[in-house]
């Protein structure tokens, strides 16, 4: 039974301790929306052959915990916009709203590459919108007009961990994911003000460019 169970799906729920960034906070009050897709992010990789296992890597909880810690250290104030109620509560106090998304995540283990390294590569997509362009529906859901985002950019992150004695595949993948999250944070923290749309927005006194009239779209479908 023990031998048979080794062929089952292998699951990693990413966990780690994430330090608060050491930086002078930007004088902004930032709203953040974690979509369900982001907060429950996971990847399932089906085994390619009999010798391999299915892999399920759940990063959602760690993503939310990490980005909360990072954003709270980077900005003067950060509030989470969850629904219509919180949207109403923070009206006129939030400079902009950021919506992070995991656009892609890939991993490799020594079985795939024959290199004694576990790797995780992530691609994030960030969008920023002014609070006025976020709308609350009657059922409490949030929606945003397409093309209302005044900034839309991607960044990549990479984490690796070498094989080590008595370290299981799951522990190594977890560690690689934590390193990748930290790398994402380092990349975000050092490049945020240099994103051309963000730099222009900050230079113009936090005034987003005029919006185009378009249909409203539910946030989850974005």
């Amino acid at each position: 039974m023990l031998l048979l169970s080794a062929c089952g799906a292998r699951e990693v729920v990413v966990q780690g301790n994430f330090p608060k960034p050491l930086m002078d906070p930007l004088p902004l009050t930032l709203g953040v929306i974690y979509t369900d897709e982001f907060a429950q992010h996971e990847i399932f990789d089906e085994a390619a052959g009999r010798a391999e296992s299915d892999w399920l890597v759940k990063t959602g909880d760690a993503q939310v915990e990490f980005w909360n810690t990072l954003l709270n250290g980077m900005f003067q104030e950060v509030v989470q916009i969850k629904d219509s109620q919180t949207l109403e509560a923070y009206k006129n106090t939030v400079d902009a709203v950021i919506i992070p998304a995991v656009a892609d995540l890939q991993y490799t283990i020594p079985l795939h590459t024959n290199i004694k390294i576990y790797e995780i590569w992530m691609k994030y997509r960030f969008k920023m919108v002014s609070l006025e362009d976020v709308h609350g529906n009657e059922n409490g859901d949030l929606s945003i007009k397409p093309d209302q985002y005044f900034a839309d950019w991607t960044l990549t992150a990479y984490g690796k961990t070498p094989t080590a004695f008595l370290q299981s595949d799951e522990e190594a993948v977890n560690l690689a994911a934590v390193v990748a999250l930290r790398d994402a944070g380092a990349n975000f923290a050092t490049s945020f003000s240099r994103v051309p749309d963000i730099a222009a927005w900050m230079a113009e006194g936090l005034q987003p460019p005029p919006a185009e009239a378009t249909d409203i779209q539910r946030l989850e479908n974005d």
Partner: protein, 224 residues
Amino acid sequence: MIRVIQGKLIAGLVLAMSILQGCVNATVDEMTFLEPTEGIGDASVVIIGRRHAPDYETEFDFIECIGDHIRRGDNSISVLHELDFINMMYPWFEPRTAPLRTDDIEKLLSQERVANRFEELKLEYMIWIDGSTIETNSSGSMTCGVGPGGAGCFGFGTWGNAADYEATIWDFTDEIEVGRISANTSGQSYMPAVVVPIPIIAPVQGTACDSLGDQLLKYLSAKM
């Protein structure tokens, strides 16, 4: 009687395993200047591994080994723990953001919070360790079996390791590089097995750690 002999045999094997070590060749090169002849006083030192290369990364336990070596040699030297330091300074010492040249120190210190943290830590020297230990070759074979009368192995295995590390010492106050020390070690390990496998391990990484640790200790300590 047989039990006594068996006991002595096992004790002898355990003793042999703990005594037998493979040979290691070590080469150490040193080039240092502006040595703190009076020691570093109540200032602190941090030893950090370089991890920005795609194909290797300096092992955390190697960095810990050098730190322990320096602490053991002179307990008045305050060596900060690498992971604690990296976490305290996040995100400025991640593989993506870590300073690569002494010119980058000024940029780092231009941030008030970072400068204040360095002042709190009384950081005088930052020592970067770059390198890794790799397996260079392996050969041989071994067969193990279990039967009603007991278990045992028969065969012979051998493998080689090579460690190549370089320590770069930065004087954090003067923002200059004050030394480079490199250690290259290599050795061959063996594992003969006649019933019981007897590992004869060449402590390649341990020797590199001791070699670098000794030189760094000589540089930093007023006692040496």
